[in-house]
């Protein structure tokens, strides 16, 4: 009876942890199989322990090249989307202007559109214009779909900020540029950073839109997609594991820094 009661009281916790397990299981598999030594071309069945792939992560033809293309695109897309998105976010929070609802829907719609629709329509545009598909068309597409997410992240931060801090700066004889650089920008920084981080992740991991508009350029997700047909090298799992570790470390360290700041404040 007491066991039943305990189960009943902790039902939510048990169900929640099971979901967490469901979310993390693939990452565990990816990590474990990065130490596999598969027999055939595909790395889906456990054979024997080996650290070969970790010792030679770039041992597969074209993989590290695609990784470098993805990193370059993600970097430039992040910069582009963050700058354009931050400007829009400031305009939306700080100013009144016409066509506000049109602007809002134009920012909302890319987030509400299935990727395949954006991918297909963008391809019809590029085909009609006779544009050469490749690095630049991918970059254009990535900036387009990352922009909205930056606007949302920055807007949330700027909205919660006290406008009188800027007024105080101006009362203390700071010019508009000085006020912006020394007061506004530092306060908005966490929102901008969150938007930039999200852009980087979205761009680096994008497959559907990239696949339509890449021409013969191969990004890392496209390499993985291709290898799902031809044969999956263990090195893919090495990259996947490394990405997961970097992500955990990044998020953990940002949380620790945030906690420390909060404690200092209190």
């Amino acid at each position: 009876m007491s066991v039943l009661n305990w189960l009943k009281r902790h039902l939510v916790v048990i169900a929640g942890l099971l979901t967490l397990g469901y979310l993390l299981l693939p990452n565990v598999i990816v990590t474990v199989f990065s130490f596999n030594k598969p027999k055939g071309r595909f790395n889906y069945q456990w054979q024997q322990f080996s650290t070969d792939a970790w010792k030679d992560p770039c041992g597969v033809a074209d993989m590290c090249g695609s990784l470098s293309i993805s990193l370059q695109i993600a970097l430039w897309a992040t910069i582009g989307a963050t700058v354009l998105g931050t400007m829009i976010a400031f305009a939306l929070v700080r100013y009144r202007f016409r066509a506000r609802s049109t602007v809002n829907s134009l920012i909302f719609l890319p987030m509400a559109m299935p990727e395949v629709v954006m991918a297909a329509s963008l391809l019809t545009l590029f085909l009609n214009l006779g544009a050469q598909l490749g690095f630049w068309t991918i970059l254009i597409a990535h900036i387009m779909f990352c922009l909205s997410f930056v606007v949302v992240a920055v807007k949330a931060r700027v909205m919660s900020m006290d406008p009188r801090l800027e007024q105080a700066a101006q009362d203390l004889y700071a010019g508009p540029a000085q006020t912006f650089l020394r007061v506004t920008l530092p306060i908005a920084a966490p929102g901008i950073a969150a938007g930039a981080l999200l852009s980087f992740a979205l761009s680096f991991d994008d497959f559907i839109i990239t696949n339509f508009n890449a021409g013969s350029t191969v990004t890392f997700p496209m390499f993985v997609w291709g290898s799902a047909q031809r044969g999956t090298p263990v090195q893919i799992n090495v990259i996947g594991t490394a990405m997961f570790l970097v992500a955990v470390l990044l998020v953990l360290s940002s949380m620790i820094i945030g906690n420390r700041r909060n404690k200092q404040k209190a």
Binding site: V30, F108, M113, V116, V117, A120, L123, P186, F244, Q264
Partner: protein, 307 residues
């Protein structure tokens, strides 16, 4: 900067702040580059796509707008099973995401205590690893001779799912169940995060008050917690359903030719068969269906809340 953030809180801000007068053109200059980008590379392509869908011709001779609306009819009559399948799979994945995601969001919001941050990291971190690699891992998990399939077989779960048509034979891979499982997995964080945001805003004292008024835990959940989390449920549902309906990665990697979704058809028509008008028409129909849903949603909640 540090001095600013550490300043003691000022008196509460006045309710309405007057809009700034100086620099009437400033907002337009701030908006111009980004909005122009969205117009040229998001809105304009939609128009090009609409125009492509009513063109006829061939790759060699080029396409001309002939207002050939029959393409729509042909596309629908040929691919309606894939449309229906997309809606069914996406709906199933959305319901599963809600059922699986709610307990976890609830756990993070109310029961995690000092573990809250760690669990949040574990929910978000997979999001930053390539989703294609993680989807491929499901091939290993659901492998024919693997522990999952043999357990399901021993428990006679597979007999039930076979009878329902969700699986066939002794396998899970290459069946609808595998595709729905992959879709659920891929879009689960999009359900958990909005749910968590709306649950976290709920005042814990409301639960105590419900308990003081002799509500049992289940009644408290049904009458207090769940209604207050509705905004999260609605946006989580949209954020899961929309991308799931257009997805073709899970159907391609985990499914078979019998589980092809509309995204697969659009992809093949565009990139392999190069039948642009049909592909554009299909994509347009998908967009119209999704837009209809979103519009109904916006009518209810207003755009300002969404962006």
């Amino acid at each position: 900067m540090a001095a600013v953030t550490e300043a003691p809180p000022l008196a509460p801000a006045p309710e309405t702040k007057p809009p700034r007068k100086r620099g009437r053109l400033v907002p337009y200059w701030l908006l111009l580059p980004g909005i122009l980008w969205l117009i040229v590379f998001f809105a304009l392509p939609m128009i090009y796509q609409a125009s492509t869908s009513v063109q006829t011709g061939s790759l060699e001779e080029g396409y001309k707008v002939t207002w050939h609306f029959a393409t729509y009819w042909d596309a629908l009559s040929e691919y309606w099973p894939q449309f229906l399948r997309s809606v069914a799979y996406a709906a199933a994945a959305t319901v599963l995401c809600l059922l699986l995601g709610y307990p976890l969001a609830y756990l993070i919001a109310f029961r995690a205590g000092r573990w809250r941050n760690l669990i949040m990291v574990l929910v978000i971190a997979p999001f930053f690893t390539s989703f294609l690699i993680r989807t491929l891992a499901w091939k290993t998990i659901l492998a024919d001779s693997g522990p999952v399939v043999s357990t399901l077989h021993t428990l006679h779960v597979l007999d039930v799912t076979n009878w329902l048509g969700w699986t066939s034979g002794d396998r899970v891979l290459a069946t609808p169940l595998a595709v729905v499982c992959g879709l659920t997995y891929n879009f689960l964080p999009f359900m958990i995060l909005p749910l968590y945001t709306s649950l976290e805003r709920i005042d814990g004292r409301l639960h105590e008050a419900a308990g003081d008024l002799y509500a049992k835990p289940w009644t408290t959940f049904r009458k207090v917690t769940f209604p207050l989390s509705m905004p999260g449920v609605v946006s989580g549902t949209l954020l899961t359903f929309i991308p799931a309906a257009g997805d073709y990665v899970n159907a391609e990697l985990l499914g078979s030719t019998d589980t092809r979704m509309i995204g697969n058809v659009i992809q093949t028509q565009f990139l392999r068969i190069l039948d642009y008008p049909t592909a554009a028409a299909l994509s347009f129909i998908l967009m119209a269906a999704i837009l209809l849903m979103v519009t109904i949603y916006i009518r209810k909640s207003g755009t300002e809340d969404l962006v």
